[in-house]
Amino acid sequence: MTNVVGSVAAARQDAVLSVRNLSKSFTAKNKAVTSGLQDVSLEAMAAQVTGLVGADGAGKTTLIRIAAGLLSPTSGSVTVLGLDSVAESIKIQSRVGYMPQKFGLYQDLTVAENMTLYADLQGVPVAQRSERYEQLLEMTGLAPFTRRRAGALSGGMKQKLGLACALIKSPRMLLLDEPTVGVDPVSRRELWKIVYKLVATDGIGVLVSTAYLDEAERCDHVVVLHEGALLASGTPDDFKKQMQGKVALVSPAAGEPTRPIYTHLASKNHIVDATIRSGRIRAVADNNAVNVVDDALPTGFAGTVAKAAPNFEDSFMLLIPRKGPQFQANGNQPALEKDIANEDVVVETRSLQKFFGDFEAVKKLSFDVHRGEIFGLLGPNGAGKSTTFRMLCGLLPASAGEIRVAGRDLRRSRAWARSRLGYMAQQFSMYGQLSVTENLGFFGKAYGLDRKRLRQRIDWAFEEFGLTPWADKAAGDLPGGYKQRLAMAAALLHEPEILFLDEPTSGVDPFARREFWLRINSFAQQGVTVIVTTHFMEEAEYCDRMLIMSRGDTLAMGTPAEIRALASTEENREPTIEDAFIALAEGQAGEA
């Protein structure tokens, strides 16, 4: 069933990409056929940004790879700039800029050398190069770094260099596959600025896949894919129109805690989505949100409920059918009223410093984390949050200063002291060849669980994380969201007091991200201390307190409300954390 929102414009002359009844299936070694795309038709116009959104496994990457002439369709056709993607793939590749999820930069070549390499590959005439390089370097802000090795660039700069290389031949169309995954908000904005500038000045057509729904909202045209099928397409406004009345904003009364209400609402029927935004709860219902929310709110709620203007994200959450075990936060559990400031300090640092050679990656950092607190470490790529995080876990020695985690410096303390913490790395760090059960068994035993206890905890993990159907699957073959669940299950198997999570939601689709935060919330309510790094700024709302870092220094520290207050201005009375972050980061950039 295809639910097309709005009117599909009649095929216009300036379509740069047209996809007709495209299907693609993959045959595995054991002859099992999986369907990647089913009967998808869409068009992308010149001088427009067309967004491709969908959950993990929706077929976004497959579609872009077919358009780039790298895969051949099972049936249907794709025409790019009037050229057939199968018969004329070489021509397409020389006229289209394509940036895959992991752009093939040569890490040991410098910025300039990488650009020259791609210019050679694309056959750009030498005479045109210096002018083109200058343009691209100026646009990407990479001009001061031409002699730096690509491997030594930050994540955001690498993506910009990738984009510059994809643009080296002034393509008439740009294919971007999740260009902003793992990129901090400041760099993300800059990257988009470049894309929009190209669209406006050169009139190129852009097809971009993204997991960020706020990015989709800014596209001219959005296509929603789900499990290989086209679910809807239209302008973001088309989508929003359908959502009138389906979104409510819950403002708790002064002093009333937000998070318990949020967990409560998230578990209710008819409420499709609940998120915390700027200290309020945004709830999406299938119909008449204000009434639904009113009925669902816990007794004694003293705040207000109001209708809210829908955005693209709301409609996306409503569009995509949910399946499989959904995490149900225990809504009946009485919301624990915690006074965190009075709890014991479980993590503390004093004047923590880290030098790499002469470079001071972390500058005299001091902070405390209390028991049962969700503490966020935020900052752009290269701010030193990962370094700080690794020092806290004992994976990296501090150059100076003190660290105490559960009363000890984990680097110097004996091995058993580490058994009180759980750790989930940014990169998937389970053994890919071992099955889910073997992985859990190994990590359980590694933490000294005895046979009986191990059995209990593995059963718990299977149930809690919905891993039962995957028990004997190799961990490396799990879909993205389940990999993350397995990693988290392994980190929680021994019931740690402190949980360290490094970018746990990077590269994970919006559904998995919501589920993840609900889980974290419920663990924190049970008294687990959580330290988490993230560069999704809206996720900072779920933290009790956060530390925003930039260039190894403390930029700000406090509760979400306190951080937001820092950016409150005349024009913007209700800034988001992201606004605050960008204001703070730019303020600092101005000083430097």
Binding site: F428, Q433, G441, F442, A490
Partner: protein, 373 residues
């Protein structure tokens, strides 16, 4: 108890990882098998089938008798019979033959007349090893022929009054295969151990699982133990299987004690595990680990005395070679197989191995936690 369970879990995991991965399984079986046969059959100094050409201008009974002796030996194989001196250049230059025997027209006459007769031998010096050895064989044949002539009274010249009677101990026929194959167990286990261990830590670092081990309550010693076991077991297994193969397949005598064999292999493999883990702990990626392993293995084999004697190397190199574990196991294995050495006799080879292991293993364990990015 807790610690035991942890170590056991770690060891089981290491074995599952190796056995589940088809590539790792191949490393355990493939290279050892190839090496066993390559070294066993191909790496030999014994000459066989050296091509030679003949220019016999004498064409008498005696010259034919001499040539029959040459032709009758396994060492030489007749490539061409020449009819004039002009062909000599061509036959050597084009490598049709490595050796040329030129018997002059007055060979028979001189011998019958009691005059010394000469046979000219031209050897291809482009491969001096082959030329030298082949000339040695020829000299032997000519010597024997001389004695026969003297006995028959054909030649009036008596044989030399002083004769050298040589006899080689331990390897009566001086078969170089014994020399090679007896030491193979060491080299084969080295390759298996180095590849398995050098990849083990590096792979975990590359895939990010090593951090997960470091934050778990393992001590560096426990990780070291867990990481050592697969290399130790597979290395020892290979070395013992191929030592047995040396005896049953290549008929190399085994004159020493089994306990000496097992003990020396064990000491050697522990040392190599230390080397491999040290390389692995230094490496951040699989590629670096594998490259590192080859950087260690190549000189270790060349300088081990497997093929060329250590005594031939310059002094400074001999001194550096003291830290090369392979040289010790090669001496030990040859002594066990051919000399019949027992544990006491090979002790001088074992303690240097233990010292090297005593340095490399703790360094590797220390690096687990200190080599970070």
């Amino acid at each position: 108890m807790n610690s035991l369970r942890r170590i056991l879990a770690l060891i089981v995991k290491e074995f599952i990882l190796i056995l589940k991965d088809p590539k790792s399984r191949l490393i355990v079986v493939g290279p050892p098998l190839i090496q066993f046969f390559v070294f066993g059959y191909a790496a030999t100094y014994d000459l066989k089938n050296v091509r030679y050409a003949v220019l016999d201008e004498s064409r008498g009974a005696l010259s034919r008798q001499l040539l029959a002796r040459v032709e009758g030996s396994d060492t030489f194989e007749l490539a061409r019979v020449l009819s004039s001196e002009k062909e000599i250049d061509e036959v050597i230059n084009l490598e049709e033959a490595r050796i040329l025997l030129h018997i002059g027209p007055d060979f028979e006459r001189n011998l019958q007349g009691g005059q010394p007769a000469t046979v000219q031998v031209i050897a291809d010096g482009r491969n001096p090893n082959v030329a030298m050895v082949a000339l040695g064989y020829l000299q032997n044949i000519v010597g024997q022929f001389n004695r026969v002539l003297a006995a028959r009274g054909v030649s009036s010249r008596a044989g030399p009054s002083l004769q050298l009677v040589d006899r080689a101990w331990f390897n009566d026929n001086l078969q170089s295969r014994w020399f090679m194959v007896s030491a193979l167990g060491g080299v084969i286990s080295m390759v298996v151990v180095m590849i398995l261990t050098s990849l083990s830590v590096a792979r975990e670092r590359e895939f990010g699982t090593f951090d997960q081990l470091l934050v778990a309550p393992f001590t560096p010693g426990e990780i070291l133990l867990g990481k050592s076991m697969p290399g130790l077991l597979f290395g020892l297994m290979n070395a013992l299987i191929f030592s047995a193969g040396a005896v049953w397949w290549f008929n190399v005598p085994f004159r020493g004690t089994v306990s000496a064999l097992v003990l020396s292999l064990l000491c050697f493999i522990v040392t190599m595990v230390g080397m491999g883990l040290l390389v692995s702990s230094f490496s951040m990626t699989l590629q670096q680990g594998l490259l590192g392993a080859f950087v260690v293995m190549m000189p270790a084999v060349v300088l081990s005395g497997l093929a060329t004697p250590i005594e031939n190397m310059p002094h400074w190199l001999q001194t550096m070679d003291l830290v090369n574990p392979v040289r010790y196991i090669i001496v030990a294995l040859r002594r066990i197989f051919l000399e019949g050495a027992d544990v006491a006799m090979i002790w001088p080879q074992l303690w240097p191995l233990l010292i090297i292991a005593g340095v490399t293993l703790p360094s590797a364990a220390w690096l687990f936690r200190h080599r970070t990015q």
